[in-house]
Symmetry: C2
Subunit: 323 residues, 2 copies
């Protein structure tokens, strides 16, 4: 009897029997993910993929953490712009910049993507990469989301954190490939997602090497060097990874080309779209949303065999910071 108890304890504690995705409901979505991972990791299966080719890439905003009412980096940009403008009001050279510095999000967004880039541009330049990293970390530690009241890193999705861990445990390398700024995302990716700086691919400004008082420094200069969105995502993956991923997670039409490219390759492929269907626990939006618009990818998901994750149906828990 004692031996049986002991053996049972081993079975229960064994990772083989533990559920790697406890915040996923037992729906077809979860079953499909698990079946894919088993297919590519079974050395005896025809669908086996060696570890070095198990590349998984994930969008960040709306896929790994929330993005409403607007990208969190934009809220950081507004806070930083306000501080900068207090010291030097002459930097506010447009209506959009003045609205942003006044905390008027609607007015700041009236300039469309161009205005948004302008705000990021002015607020994210003129300091070193190290100083920027320190500033983002301090902001994330103090800032709270306007409606949830949670720290932003508490609004990462618990089911997605489990998926990242599960994939890594099964020999995948996990990357972020997102429209967010690479320096902004690196400031929390290691702690929030266990994703190191060299596995973060994002939009980028110009970085300039300089030596100031004998100290080498990397300065963030104005200007946009690369926008990691839409067709830029496959190009960014090629530039930094050089291998076509076999697993892609996204949530908007900005992920369309990355999904298309990755799932068109030979062998087993997995495309996944997080569909924001949960107005009670998170937000509900898709085709009409200015932020994270999901339209074409939703239309074509079935024909392309991409899994559409229904947040309300498939997830038993949403935010990591809310027990």
């Amino acid at each position: 009897m004692r031996l049986m108890t002991f053996l049972f304890a081993i079975l229960v504690a064994s990772p083989v029997f533990a559920d790697p995705l406890p915040s996923w409901n037992d729906t077809a979505s979860k079953a499909r993910i698990v079946a894919f991972v088993e297919d590519v990791t079974d050395p005896a299966a025809e669908t086996f993929v060696p570890e070095e080719a198990r590349i998984a890439v994930f969008d960040n905003d709306g896929t790994l953490w929330s993005e409403q009412p607007v990208y969190f980096q934009f809220l950081y940009a507004i806070d930083r712009l306000r501080e900068k403008a207090e010291a030097d009001p002459s930097i506010l050279t447009s209506d959009v910049l003045r609205a942003a510095a006044a905390g008027d999000i609607r007015g700041a967004m009236a300039g469309g993507n161009e205005g948004l880039l302008d705000i990021v541009n002015v607020s994210h330049s003129g300091l070193s990469v190290d100083a920027f990293d320190t500033d983002v970390r301090a902001w994330l530690a103090a800032a709270r989301h306007p409606t949830s009241g949670l720290p932003y890193t508490g609004m990462t999705y618990q089911p997605m954190l489990e998926l990242l861990s599960y994939l890594r445990d099964e020999g995948f390398t996990t990357y972020i490939v997102s429209g967010g700024g690479v320096h902004f995302m690196r400031a929390f990716a290691a702690d929030a997602y266990t994703i190191p700086p060299w596995q973060v691919i994002g939009s980028a400004g110009h970085t300039r090497y300089d030596v100031v008082n004998g100290e080498p420094i990397l300065m963030k200069d104005p200007g946009i060097a690369f926008i990691d969105d839409g067709p830029g995502k496959p190009a960014g993956i090629d530039a930094k990874i050089g291998v076509r991923p076999i697993f892609v997670g996204g949530n908007s039409d900005g992920d369309f080309q990355m999904l298309e490219w990755a799932t068109s390759g030979a062998g087993p492929r997995f495309g996944m779209i997080v569909h924001h269907t949960d107005a009670d626990r998170e937000f509900a939006y898709d085709r009409q949303s200015a932020v994270g618009r999901l339209d074409r990818a939703l239309d074509e998901a079935e024909a392309r065999d991409w899994l559409v994750v229904d947040m309300a149906r498939d997830w038993s828990r949403v935010w990591s910071g809310q027990p």
Copy 2:
């Protein structure tokens, strides 16, 4: 007696006692490298560096393989330009391009760096990343160096291959950070250096995502997006790795800023310059060379505590392809 023989055989075969750098002579250079590696890998030492921070970066041309009489990628560009021009002579729009297509290296180099970029630009665009990779591999398999007669991948430096392996065995991650094109270097880096595509940082043109007849494709467009040389090297490392390396190997003034940045960080740091002093076995050049000019970095090496490797003195063997 038998037991002693057996134990002795184990000791000799044991990696602890095997020389990890057999093609390095027993000079002060080798001792300095080994001492540094022991310092940062000894968990009990104050100088210990955890594995995730053991980032080592190496220039390629002149540091991992030869670069005379001119960068090997340039010889590839000329061969490819000639082929392209046979099909469509109208692409030869300048004297430099015409000289290059005629195989006149001196005339092709007369345009300086600008002419060189022009040649790379015209010869490296208008095909997909995959097709380019296939083409480079075919060229490397067939082409022979004009003076050594060796295949170009036979002109990698055996002592440097051993250093790369040694560092990886000791928990380092090894990267290439070189002025060469990222797609060109990836075509041989895995086989020649055991360095995967995502650890190759280089210069890059514009890559455009397209869908042709339903097939997603990455096209190499004309234009230079990034030059990974001089101050571009620290910027490239920041963009792709996001961590300051602790070990840098270079051979020219184009590596100066990378050496300066990496060796200015806190904790143990190692900067190393391969000095081409061996006219008998390789080439002898430094301050006056148009390719791989080493001047300022040589002047400042001692004050900055960078190791200058004297190829003639420190290496018992040079090329990997020559036994």
